[in-house]
Amino acid sequence: MNKLNITWCWPDILNLHGDRGNVMALVRIAEKMGLEAEVHKVVNFGDEIDLDNTDILLLNPGEFKSCEYIVNAFSRIKEDLDDYIYRGGVILAVGTTGASFGKTIRKLDGTAVTGLGYLDMECRERDSIVGDDLICKMRETGFDLNGSQIQVMDTFLNGDIALGDVEYGYGNCSYEDRREGARTENLIFTNMLGPVLVKNPWLAQELILWAMSSKGVMNLLKPDEGEFELERKSLECVRRYNQTKQNK
């Protein structure tokens, strides 16, 4: 049986919004695809991250202050991370964690932190919070994605690197910008919580396909259409609710 190696970074620290659900979803979908999923936890910021044995690197959202810690942790293995990304390794960075992969993180106290620089974007800490639903169409795949977002930072993209186009919601930095998240290679940043992979199992499936194809494993089983019926019905409910909620 083919194996999918998932590295779950700092599960206790990057743990804001029930995000362990993302790991559960990856394991569940991987098994439906006939894979053996193995999850490796990285506990503390000083601990080793074994990228040689990683197919998907998962970073859930943490408190905004954690961005700096993430940058420092990966800076120590920057060359390995470069190799990982350019050989097609998958990274999912959810919420504030995504800022670490951008160019600059600006904090409310006026200071700035230089990010890892893979995503050409700048993130700025907000002094108030935006909480709302978010529905978008993922570029390239055409998938509908949905979730909620709790925005404690705004993200400004410098290039055409958005992950998706917003159908409803705030997205990266305003209700007008209409762009959500960012992507380069197989590194994805999304503002969507939910947990995002539970609510969008088709995204989990896509990430697994990317991860496995980057190590030469093709022709994987795809779960039946009916497998995700509950999630599709949920998406329709959420979409309908957001279309009509102004009347409440």
Binding site: N15, G18, V23, M24, E63, G131, D133, V152, L230, C237
Partner: protein, 451 residues
């Protein structure tokens, strides 16, 4: 001149309160809002305010109950207390309480000022009423649409704590205890391991980041979710071995515990109440009221912020457990409560969309912070998940936790007709209902027509 203006505003506010009473309204914040609009520093002009005898109770969970307990115990021992028992915990609520309980010249009647204060508005209140004493019950995930992340609230509280302040903090809650770095005096309160304490060793169990070094906090055990004896796996920050006040020898069967050398009867026996009792005893001790006297007062204590209602419906009994939306602790407590009943039961759950303020939205991710495994072994015959927008997501959380999909009915609706029609299909009379207060009230309003 300011003093004269204060007196005029006070009289106007008192008259407003009088009108509220005439109209049968509670008016827990209107008078204060009116006064603060006319005089921004209104609260600072009250007299007979002793910071040493002024106490704020803040934190995510347990504020109201602890406030009620402390006030009840102090009053039972003959102290005069000015307070905001109605849960109006913003600055307007505090001002209203002082307007209500003061003379026509603004002399506060209470010798002790005990106020529940909203975490986000603590600094604003402290600016006008510099209390010497601050209780922090816990700082946890809650109302993320307003609060974002716990660190957002932590920073707001930490900004107020200073070296001139005495803080009372939960010894087993890492964020609250870490405020010790900012305070002049720290009094810790604690609950010893008891028969309902538990450990978590599952693969998907997660804890939290250390508030001091942001590495992993490990809990030796939990007394309630996210609260228990802990140690940081990196910097060594840990719960104190000798807390100032500790609840020990907890006997749930006989509803007693020991604290400060006294055997205490507990009016409510859910584990999270133990921390409220410990804090009340710690505060009262500081105000010169001993544990024996506090214990006696508990015998007549009734919690006005109760979260359990029993409703007869046809041949059934519906046990309603109130939750706070976006608050994993109250949802976990509700799950635990249900799982203690091993009788056959129907479980109605409506986590509901969030409609407190705009924009309304459909967050259910806090359910993934809760463990649902206890429900699997609690003889739930069938689960009915309802709500216009989040019924499927709620059901999915249960399925991810191992609950059999074929024993869940999803009703993507908030129509009571649909919910009660589904409930009527089951002959089981033992029914548990979890939803937020507003939906519960709607259901109860309609209930007679289904009888």
């Amino acid at each position: 001149m300011k003093r004269i203006w204060f007196t005029i505003v006070l009289w106007g506010s008192k008259f407003g309160l009088f009108l509220c009473r005439l109209l049968g309204k509670n008016g827990t914040y209107i008078a204060g809002a009116f006064a603060l609009k006319l005089q921004k520093d209104f609260i600072t002009h009250f007299t007979h305010v002793d910071p040493e005898r002024t106490l704020f109770i803040t934190g995510t969970n347990g504020k109201s109950t602890t406030n009620n307990l402390i006030v009840h115990a102090l009053r039972a021992s003959g102290k005069k207390v000015t307070t905001n028992l109605e849960g109006a915990n913003l600055i307007t609520g505090v001002a209203t309480a002082m307007i209500r309980d003061s003379s026509m010249l603004g002399r506060v009647n209470g010798d002790y000022l005990i106020f529940e204060t909203d975490e986000r508005y603590l600094a604003q209140i402290y600016e006008q009423l510099p209390a010497k004493n601050l209780c922090v019950t816990n700082i946890q995930k809650d109302q993320v649409q307003r609060n974002g992340e716990p660190d957002f609230i932590y920073k707001k509280i930490a900004k107020v704590v200073n070296k001139d302040m005495r803080i009372f903090v939960n010894n087993e809650e890492p964020r609250a205890l870490s405020l010790e770095d900012y305070a002049g005096e720290v009094r810790t309160y604690s609950v010893e391991r008891h028969s309902k304490s538990f450990e978590k060793n599952g693969f998907y169990d997660v804890t939290m980041g250390c508030p001091k070094c942001n590495n992993k906090i490990a809990f030796n055990y939990y007394n309630v979710d996210n609260v228990g004896e802990f140690r940081c796996t990196s910097c060594g920050f840990h719960s104190r071995i000798q807390p100032d006040v500790q609840v020990t020898d907890v006997d749930f069967e006989n509803r007693t515990f020991r604290c400060d050398g006294v055997s205490v009867h507990m009016p409510y026996d859910q584990p999270f109440f133990l921390y409220n009792y410990a804090l009340a005893i710690a505060v009262c001790k500081m105000f010169g009221v001993g544990a024996e006297s506090v214990s006696k007062s508990f015998e007549s204590f009734r919690n006005i912020a109760g979260r359990l209602e029993l409703i007869p419906y046809k041949t059934k009994e519906i046990k309603y457990i109130r939750i706070k939306q976006e608050n994993p602790e109250t949802l976990t407590t509700a799950f635990d409560f249900i799982s203690q009943d091993k009788e056959r039961k129907i479980f109605l759950i409506g986590l509901e969309q969030l409609e407190d303020f705009q924009p309304f939205y459909t967050n259910t991710f806090y359910a993934f912070d809760c463990d649902v495994e206890s429900l699997l072994h609690s003889n739930i015959e069938h689960c009915i998940s309802f709500s216009e927008a989040v019924a499927y997501d709620t059901a999915n959380r249960l399925i991810y936790g191992g609950f059999p999909e074929d024993r869940i009915t999803v009703i993507p609706s908030d129509e009571n007709d649909d919910i009660f029609a589904e409930l009527d299909k089951y002959d089981c009379d033992n029914v548990y209902l979890i939803t937020w207060l507003h939906k519960y009230e709607q259901m109860m309003e309609d209930l007679p027509k289904y009888e």
